[in-house]
């Protein structure tokens, strides 16, 4: 709760600081704000408390996911330096919108009431619609904002319709009441309940870009300015999956049989479409969009497993995925700026010679995303797969996922090959600020550290 209040106030303060002549203070100030929120959030650890007639509950689950999302925002903000250098007049608004959307993300991991879930998703999404179109003079950015907004509004309607049908069937918006009504009625109260449940699943699947509701992702990710794509594919996705798990665990545990077939179909489809789709891309940013679809699939696997290991493995996977994705987008941003907006694999040619640091950070990130040992991504996948094989009947799902992870290695290593094996097209060294270099090193070390000592995070929940 403190983090929600603090973020709202800090966001407003940020807006007004933006009226000052120099924009240089904005980045350190926003980082300070996020650090304060990160610290304040930790005070709620083991001190579960409910607010607003039990509509929000800040428990360890909420604190852990809030921590990861605030940390992800904290780690990706330093890569907004080029906005400061070009003295973008809307810089304060960008930072404020990120802080405000983080409020929505926190509500999505701490809700106890469907209304809070809906409001959280809206607060998160509306800021993202604006940020997707924040590069006003570029056509692709406009296209991204319009597509994201229209599709997002439509699927919000689907989600809301689901909530309404559930309310009609159970007479409550509270997760505990819904669970109680479902429990005394074999998990399926009536047809209205089942229909509402499926609409809810569809609505949230859209938000985490799970197939077959992923069609917006490649276009939107490609058009959105890279900094905000990075936020979109980390924080928005983590919030969505965490909200999804919480919804299923707290309200629909008894209805397992009703949503399990749908969810397992969505999971397999997401894994296959995401990975196969990524293989054929020539644009690195579009590849990352499909890769984020495929990672939604791995995260959904933990949800399909639905046992006591699910939440911890979602948490660890989210963190490892966020760290690697932030690095991938940050390096892409530097490279494409140097190469006049070129975002293809070819833009990375020879990066290993000109910028060893960028190339190394990227290599570690790609290893982590594909799940190579000694990186956080390996244990992320390991924990998810272990959670799934608890149920021996789901062995085939792990086989599919491992096959798809093997496909993943192919397209993730395309860029590594381009960086180290191809001759440099443009031998100029890419200039990066010392703070951004420090952050790259920090995230890379963190990724490797989690790959050696995963218990740092995996035992939290």
């Amino acid at each position: 709760m403190t983090s929600i209040i603090l973020l709202s106030i800090f966001g407003i303060i940020n807006l007004f600081v933006g009226f000052m002549k120099s924009k240089r203070i904005l980045l350190p100030l926003s980082l300070l704000f996020l650090a304060v929120v990160f610290g304040a959030n930790l005070f709620s650890w083991n001190e579960a408390q409910s607010y607003f007639n039990h509509m929000l509950t800040i428990d360890n689950y909420a604190v852990a996911f809030t921590g990861i999302m605030v940390l992800a925002t904290l780690l990706l903000l330093p890569f907004s330096q080029h906005y400061i250098e070009e003295a973008n007049e809307n810089l304060a608004e960008f930072y404020s919108l990120l802080l405000f959307s983080l409020v929505g993300a926190i509500m999505m991991v701490s809700y106890e009431n469907m209304l809070m879930l809906f409001i959280g998703i809206e607060i998160l999404s509306i800021a993202m619609y604006v940020l997707a179109g924040s590069d006003k003079r570029r056509l692709r950015s406009n296209e991204a904002a319009l597509k994201y907004f229209l599709m997002g509004a439509f699927f919000t309607g689907v989600l809301l319709f689901g909530i309404v049908l559930i309310y009609g069937a159970t007479g409550s918006f509270y997760l505990t009441d819904i669970a109680a009504t479902a429990a005394v009625n074999d998990g399926t109260v009536n047809a209205m309940f089942t229909l509402g449940l499926l609409l809810l699943v569809i609505g949230i699947s859209f938000k985490i870009s799970a197939a077959p509701f992923h069609f917006w992702a490649p276009d939107v990710y490609e058009g959105t300015p890279t900094l905000f794509t990075s936020y979109m594919s980390t924080v928005v996705k983590i919030a969505g999956v965490a909200a999804f798990y919480k919804l299923m665990a707290a309200a629909f545990a008894a209805s397992y049989a009703a949503w399990f077939p749908t969810l397992i179909a969505i999971t397999v489809l997401t894994l296959v479409v995401g990975n196969i789709g990524a293989v054929v891309q020539t644009n690195f940013k579009r590849m990352l969009a499909y890769s984020s679809v495929s990672h939604a699939g791995y995260l959904l696997m933990a949800l399909v497993a639905f046992n006591e290991r699910s939440d911890a493995s979602i948490l660890f996977y989210s963190l490892s995925y966020a760290l690697a994705t932030i690095v991938a987008f940050a390096v892409l941003q530097y490279v494409s700026e140097q190469r006049n907006g070129d975002e293809t694999y070819a833009a990375f040619n020879g990066l290993g010679k000109t910028n060893p640091l960028l190339a190394f950070a990227m290599t570690v990130a790609m290893c982590s995303l594909s799940g190579i040992p000694l990186t956080a991504g390996f244990f992320g996948k390991l924990f998810v797969f272990t959670a799934v094989v608890q149920d021996a009947r789901l062995m085939w799902l792990v086989v599919v996922a491992v096959l798809m992870a093997a496909v993943g290695i192919y397209y993730y290593f395309k860029v590594v090959i381009a960086m180290y094996m191809q001759p440099a097209a443009d031998a100029a060294k890419i200039r990066i600020g010392s703070f951004a270099s420090f952050m790259l090193i920090f995230i890379t070390v963190f990724t490797i550290l989690l790959g050696i000592a995963p218990a740092l995070v995996s035992d939290l929940l």
Binding site: F16, G171, S172, A180
Partner: protein, 127 residues
Amino acid sequence: MEPAVNQQYVPSDYLPILIQFLAALGFVVTTLIVTHLIGPKRKSAVKDAPWESGIESVGDARTPISYKYFMTAILFVLFDVEVIFMYPWAVNFRSFGLDGFLQMVLFMGLLLAGFFYVLKKGILKWD
């Protein structure tokens, strides 16, 4: 908290809604038909022309309009809608007590911060 909802509704409970719906529809249909039947009919070129408060219509309706107009219009709607929250609050002012007052002060404070931001941003400057 047990869901305290009457689950015993039968279809006939919805009859008043159906009657209301039919009455509304019937009124519209009847008025349309009756006025069509009993009203006088005079047709001329002048009567069929688009009527614009007596001023002759000029040009096309689809002309570019300055974005300032949209900005002002959206801000008007925004602040206008916020006022709606004031009415129920004012009616229940006594029963809300000090808490309700402070909540409204907070709400108006946030709203004013937004208004101040809009002014500083120069959205309402027309030149």
